[in-house]
Symmetry: D2
Subunit: 361 residues, 4 copies
């Protein structure tokens, strides 16, 4: 297992869906920074299961106890550890999973990896629940980034085959921050009705739908990134692909770029009034792994929730028999909505790791 991430800061996460607690240690934060605890808790609430329209019925307040690294309302520079208790666990729902692996989930892999010693309840360590500590760490990093005038926000760029309008190449910070205040963030709110319908239809069928999330980071000056192996893309993608449901990532125009000619794809540099920019932003603010000063834009594909209530074919890993599975438990019919703050969180963690020692911002 590898649950430590980062170069300049280090994030260590721990916990399982049904262990007594989950949490995260953030190492090497600067000292003397007051944290807006209410704002952190607001980020937690965006992701928390609350029994709402787009959420599993499991209810968790997801209040974070900061047990270290914080004194007199400021960071001390020592490791900040946040712990979240698991309270609303219904482990009995998962008894069947001792033997029967869920399609679309990591149960089969963990069974083999651990020699049958994995905590199968609720998906254990690979549960979406482990994204809660990430959101906490991301909320802290977002506050550190704001001190450097770097802002992050995102929208649901699609649910199934319904697409939202993409970010403008020059998307700005206040628009992004506004999006973080919305339950169902969209650039074009007219798309809500159709997306909402698809999600509820899937739920009524005991099925699920996926979608995509587009995220932007603004305020990063030119020249940030640590090639060869810590390009901005590498840092962000390595965290995005740690989130179990993410199966695709694009920077800038992504796959569309592969269809363009060089003369179309290249973003011409321009200078106006002493300010350098690119006339287009096909490359998503990143060239050769380094920022250009334009908004950093990426998109992540989220697969449909693997837990569905339709009968599925699978196997009993102990006996090797082919069996039918009818899942119990509490699940989201579309995790894209609750994944939005997670995607922003990993963007914040990745970006802050790259900017930690940039004093020229």
């Amino acid at each position: 297992m590898s649950t430590v991430w980062g170069s300049n800061i280090k994030i260590t996460i721990f916990g399982e869906s049904h262990s007594s607690a989950i949490g995260v240690v953030i190492d090497n934060l600067p000292a003397g920074v007051p944290l807006d605890i209410a704002e952190i808790q607001r980020e937690m609430a965006r992701r928390a299961p609350n029994g709402g329209e787009y959420s599993t019925p499991r209810q968790e307040a997801d209040e974070v106890e900061i047990v270290s690294g914080y004194f007199n309302d400021k960071t001390t520079g020592t490791p900040l550890c946040g712990i979240i208790r698991n309270t609303n666990t219904k482990s009995s729902d998962y008894d069947v999973l001792k033997d029967v692996v869920r399609p679309g989930h990591s149960d089969f892999g963990y069974y083999h990896k651990s020699g049958g010693n994995n905590d199968y309840r609720g998906g254990g360590h690979s549960s979406g629940r482990l994204t809660a500590p990430l959101v906490f760490a991301g909320a802290v990093c977002k506050q550190m980034l704001r001190l450097k005038d770097v802002f992050i926000g995102s929208h649901i760029s699609s649910i199934s085959n319904i697409k939202d309008t993409k970010f403008d190449a020059r998307v700005e910070g206040n628009m992004l921050e506004n999006l973080t205040r919305q339950v169902f963030p969209l650039v074009n709110n007219a798309k809500f009705v159709a997306m909402d319908y698809l999600i509820k239809e899937a739920r009524s069928e005991g099925d699920s739908v996926g979608g995509t999330i587009e995220c932007a980071i603004v305020g990063v000056p030119a020249g940030v990134g640590e090639p060869f192996f810590e390009s901005i893309e590498s840092k962000i993608a390595s965290l995005l692909f740690s989130v179990p449901a993410v199966k695709g990532v694009e920077f800038g125009k992504g796959y569309e770029l592969a269809k363009m000619k060089g003369s179309e794809a290249n973003d011409p540099f321009r200078c106006l009034g002493g300010r350098v920019f690119t006339a287009t932003n096909n490359n998503g603010g990143i060239l050769g792994g380094l920022s250009t000063g334009m908004p950093i834009i990426f998109d992540a594909a989220i697969k449909p929730t693997a837990s569905i209530f339709k009968e599925q074919d699978t196997i009993n890993v102990i006996t090797g028999e082919n069996v039918k599975l009818n899942l119990k438990g509490r699940h989201d019919s579309c995790i894209v909505v609750r994944a939005v703050p997670v995607i922003e969180a990993v963007a914040a963690i990745a970006m802050y790791d790259l900017l930690r020692y940039r004093e020229d911002l």
Copy 2:
């Protein structure tokens, strides 16, 4: 900068396009393994600029001198260092780039990152030339993986808007190895004519085209991967996005998955004659960051070569003036062909890093 990568093995690369040499150090290889040097050189030749149809006219033999870690025709377990001399450099072609940054390249970012002290000749450290040491490291890792019956191969899944047939969910090792013997690897060779035409058309226009590469890894047993942060997807993606031209990555059906319902996306586990498999492989052999035992399949989007011979708008970074740029130098009109062994190499490095200590294979 961050030019060291890996957890169980460590890859350190160095060099610039026009420095005296480029190279790589591979740390923590096992001792006592004979390397097939001819096979390594064959991999180098796949990527090397050779003045051929799909290559820049710059000619480099890209012969690797192994300077350490190899004794009596076997690895010693100490760091294996391979050095490649830069011979065919025409630095004068790049004099204009002291001041004028190329659109689509990292020149602007490096100028700011280094305070104007970057080696601008040929793109310096961010040149595609730095993928040569990666191919060497990948060739070594491929040989280590073969000892564990793990095989890697890939094909050009598209050039611009012309698509090749995708890999079958159960693609096999010998087909993959055969693909590595082809100059222009395709699943459906009937697509060659149209692709070839697009590339040559772009060249004749002084322009360039992009494409995509699909890669498969077979023979990885179930349960490999190191979540949370070293999921198979994270490891492979972090290396893929270090390659400057890669702007999108998908695992399995990738973005298509986001449009499916859970009941379609979930790959049902089945058992037949004691062998477990999934009836479909939409998830590309990876669930929750862990292998399922099915072929691991991913795809990478390669943007069109940024260096084109059409006049482009850009700026002089010293004076801040808007200027026109007419590039000299030697460039590929489509780097996708030479990128194929690079994509395989990073897949091999990532996978071997995850499998280094698996003795049960």
Copy 3:
């Protein structure tokens, strides 16, 4: 700050002397190993402040709550997080330390490092209290090492100028395990009276004494260690010197070796009945950073407790005035006794990190 350690396992510690809790996350343990929880708690008790003869009057049960990575009485292979609540804190004792730095302590350094934002209560993050999570991690590693027949034990090799007999070159595991059952472990128990007298004399004077601890690790086969930078000596020393009171470390004969001739220092290899050994063990079982198969022996110098009750000269860091300091609080007059399990713990962590993937043991 840097509170993550390890290559094959990763240890992340957090907490301050007076924060709500301290703890540790241990990443990449094998799955399926039952832990002897009572044995872990016994190790915790060896270090815990218990108001006993050789301890501060502060009383802490130091019971560890394992919050993750443990299921059905076995490790799951996911991060094992242990949390220890701080209960018996008397923060008011430390109010004076807001401004006045204690000689021999890190207060002055932390004041500058954190810009005055450090948690000064009880030494904050640099308190000896942070060795409690280390002892927990060490207790876990000791159990993992026992599965490979590797045993660790130590004795108080000196208190002030009173020396215990050194370990025999061929010290054995059962002797070492017996030593871990003693409150005041000595090879020659006749030395106890004089050592005990010195400690009590220092306490009665409001002063403190230091000493040394010799530790042995037996059962490590030849060829373990990861030069160049992860020699056995480097791994052990890097952890030993993280413990704030350690100011010197020797392997084998250490400084005595520097006075020998090569013909005396070299340990001759011998073979008897198929078993290879060295006739002497001046090098402490390590040559060129690798184990020889002989007992690994090292010694650590522990400075006298910095907290004393004699009046001391120091400064007020805010005003820059020279002042007199009369410490309150609760302190050990000799921390050597309670440091014994800490030294063993870091030896266990370092050694297990090196042996994690050795399946040939």
Copy 4:
């Protein structure tokens, strides 16, 4: 193997005593710094085998070829790779070592570690020759440190039982720099005759002697160091103990501290004319892993050269027979003299890694 070191910079070394070359890659240096190449070469010459009085007869110019990361006489910020060719190798001297392991050397360990696949010629990767790349990296780091007014120097604090005077608690930078200009650096030059005699006597006997080296670092402000695990002591010691001959390390008064009372050991803080200092410096400028602003002082014990020309008992690892060994080859009768620049180099690397991002110096 583990041949990558560092947190903020990364050092990767490679090579064997008789491989075609040895070298080092230094990652994450700042861009735009001119290096004094002559000064680097002077440091190389201090360590190089030159056939002189205190050196093996093997002669190596140890000229470093900088192959990357340096352009227009300045660092570019990309990895600086320095390569040193091995020229004066007499591999035939080592044929006997295929089977017969040298006492005091790592041959036996490497034989087991590599399954008999190690490069036994001249000690392979564990040869003292691998300290040449360290000296190069250290020379670069020394120049970076000088930009921050940090200076490093050392003296031979003992040869066998003859001791030099120790550094004054307030040793200054110019004295340290002067010491680096001496072939046989001593605080009290009157000790030279006796030391020189011991070395030459040992040589005439075919034997060897050891000694100790005391090193000081001045100019480091208070609050530098990264506890818990990257205390200044941990960083320096982890590198020191990578050097095969180092068997003991002390910071400040080291083992003497363990014999003091707290009231003697604690260094009282004083303030005079706005400048804070400690009246004594028993703790070697480090408390709790952090600098106090006083000179950082440490000492390393170097064992006598393991290669001697007296007949020794050892074994044949293939047959298991007890045999007599009469070494050929070229060896120093006292490596302490040539180890001086190595000790300084690792101090410089460790210190620069800690100071890399300190812009307030």
